[in-house]
Amino acid sequence: MEYFLELFFGGLTRGSIYALIALGYTMVYGIIQLINFAHGEIYMIGAFVALIVAGVCTIYGLSGVSILILAGVIAVIYACAYGYTLEKVAYRPLRGAPRLSPLISAIGMSIFLQNYVLLAQTSDFLPFPRLIPDFAFMEPVAHIIGSPELVILITTVITMILLTLLIKKTKVGKAMRATQQDMNMARLVGVNVDRIISLTFIIGSALAAIGGVLVASYIGQVNFYIGFLAGVKAFTAAVLGGIGSIPGAVFGGLVLGWAESFAAGYISSDYEDVFTFGLLVIILILRPAGILGKVRKQKV
């Protein structure tokens, strides 16, 4: 039972990070039907900015949680700026182009950002400080769920509640939903669609940056390449849950996290990916639009 719980919480932690990143993929896809391949790189940039801020803060003698919050906030701001610029530079000029063009542009931006960080920083692995302290009250269960996992889970839950409130209760959220349903109609009733698209990129980037900071302080290392694998996994999670659906991304992330954790724990880590992607294939055969995805009827 204890072993099951260990794997359960391991999978939950991993899954909630996948979910945070997957939200960015799914929101962008929901609105402009673009798979933003550079999204994983925003996650990586978030982690790097946090590392730099944490370094500066340590020099000024700040400690622990205050660094985590400050680094997190600045990382989010930077990531938002990158997300906004990315959309402006690489996707907006291609708005009317065939669907393959922005896709290629996205892959190009992904490679560009990776190499930019490689040149501006280093190709080496860098240590990331343990910004999340070990809480004394967690010590008896630290081998099942430690303080970092607890912080990751709480942060993810809060972030998702805020996101839901934003989309369901605010005027901006209503405009986003309208744009997702029908972009031209939304434009007709006075929604500034371009601004809504920019905002979607900004929100997605903020979520990715939060994920990046949390993961980096949990596993203790960053590298210019970490965004690629995380991005692939999160994209898988988004497809699994039903791309375009926000609850689907969260659900897909958790299912993927658990599938990997239990596959590695009960079968073999050799087959971790085989098992996970096998699951993806089975789910897509049974439900081609993903677990919670809606099949959009094509009107001719």
Partner: protein, 371 residues
């Protein structure tokens, strides 16, 4: 008439052969390796090492009173070219050969030298089979075989650490899995250790918490990991996060300052194998200084091994008192020689004794060599 021509040519051939093998007034040291192409950086330092050694020995009066002559041949690390290279060196009458550099090329060429009874010494070919198969009694090397890392680590684990239950992980790559397979084979053969887990992990995965929990569940006392430092840092960090006290044991791919830097305090107590620290050997520093004086740059890969091989080969000829194959091989096996990689002779397989790896323990954020 045709018969006569054949006869004459055979006679002429015999004459030319005897001319090279008996009338030679120099000791011929063949040097084969990649001297052009993209693998040239692995071959050129050994070639330059041979040139430095020969220059020095000739200045002192040569070997057995004869000057040493270098026969340099490029094999580009390609097995198909290496066979031509070997044939050329045999025809040119090389007495001993320093080379080849790449394991594949060495393997391809060895049969030709073996038939011609020429001792060959590689500064860099680490393939296990070259010495362990027993097929090439004429082959020697001044670098340790791949498996020697696992031999050292498993010996240390059995004799010094005395663990009974171990888990083995690898990164699914050639290098990491090779080390893990060797460790598994050696530990199973000893019969003293139970291997509770043998799995590959995905390099670059977000975290390894499931596999860490699995190690805990299986109650492994030590985790043996074959792979490189990024995954190793992640593993030890997560083990410390999960309050797991399992001892971490790994290979040369982890003996890197990045491991200490990235894993930080979590790395303390880990054991890794890595090349022996040679900087205290006087000849080592002298050889490097000699190279710098001549070429004004750092020597590069396999320079010390190449220098040692050239010294060992020429010393064996000197000790044997002739270039006779059996006597030279006997000298290589039995007579010690001072080289930049230490005072060495060669074991019955052809591997240099005392060359190779040491066990290092991470203590207070630094690698400490275990004697």
């Amino acid at each position: 008439m045709k018969k006569m021509t054949v006869l004459f040519s055979i006679l002429a051939l015999a004459l030319s052969m005897s001319a090279t093998s008996f009338a030679s007034d120099t000791i011929k040291l063949g040097v084969a390796g990649p001297h052009s192409g993209d693998l040239a950086p692995y071959g050129i330092p050994a070639m330059k090492a041979a040139q430095l050694v020969v220059k020095q020995i000739n200045a002192k009066g040569g070997v057995l009173g004869k000057q040493v002559e270098l026969l340099i041949q490029d094999d580009q690390c390609k097995p198909e070219i290496a066979t031509n290279t070997a044939t050329k060196l045999v025809t040119d009458g090389a007495h001993v050969v320093l080379g080849h550099i790449c394991s594949g090329a060495t393997k391809a060429a060895l049969g030709i030298y073996n038939d011609a009874k020429i001792p060959v010494m590689s500064p860099s070919a680490t393939d296990n089979g070259l010495t362990y198969s027993g097929d090439y009694p004429n082959f020697f090397r001044t670098i340790a075989a791949n498996i020697s890392q696992a031999e050292l680590a498993s010996g240390y684990l059995l004799d010094t650490l005395g663990f009974k239950k171990v888990a083995i992980l690898h990164d699914k790559g050639d290098y990491g899995k090779g080390f893990a397979d060797d460790m598994k084979m050696l530990l199973e053969k000893s019969g003293k250790v139970e291997i509770v887990l043998f799995e590959g992990i995905t390099p670059g995965a977000m975290d390894y918490s499931s596999i860490v929990q699995k190690i805990r569940k299986n109650k492994a006392e030590a985790l043996i990991f074959g792979g490189y430092h990024p995954e190793a840092s992640k593993l030890v960090t997560q083990m410390s996060r999960k309050r797991l006290k399992t001892i971490f044991i790994s290979d040369d791919g982890v003996k890197d300052d990045s491991f200490l830097k990235v894993a930080g305090p979590a790395a303390n107590g880990a054991f890794v194998t890595g090349p022996r620290d040679l900087s205290s050997i006087p000849l080592n520093a002298a050889a490097t200084a000699e190279f710098k004086a001549e070429y004004g740059a750092e020597p590069g890969a396999f320079f010390q091994e190449g220098y040692s091989a050239a010294l060992a080969l020429l010393n064996a000829v000197e000790q044997a008192g002739s270039t006779d194959y059996d006597k030279v091989v006997d000298a290589l096996h039995n007579k010690y020689v001072e080289t930049p990689v230490g005072k060495i002779k060669f074991d019955s397989k052809g591997d240099a004794e005392g060359v190779g790896y040491s066990v290092y323990k991470v203590e207070n954020g630094a690698f400490t060599e275990m004697k």
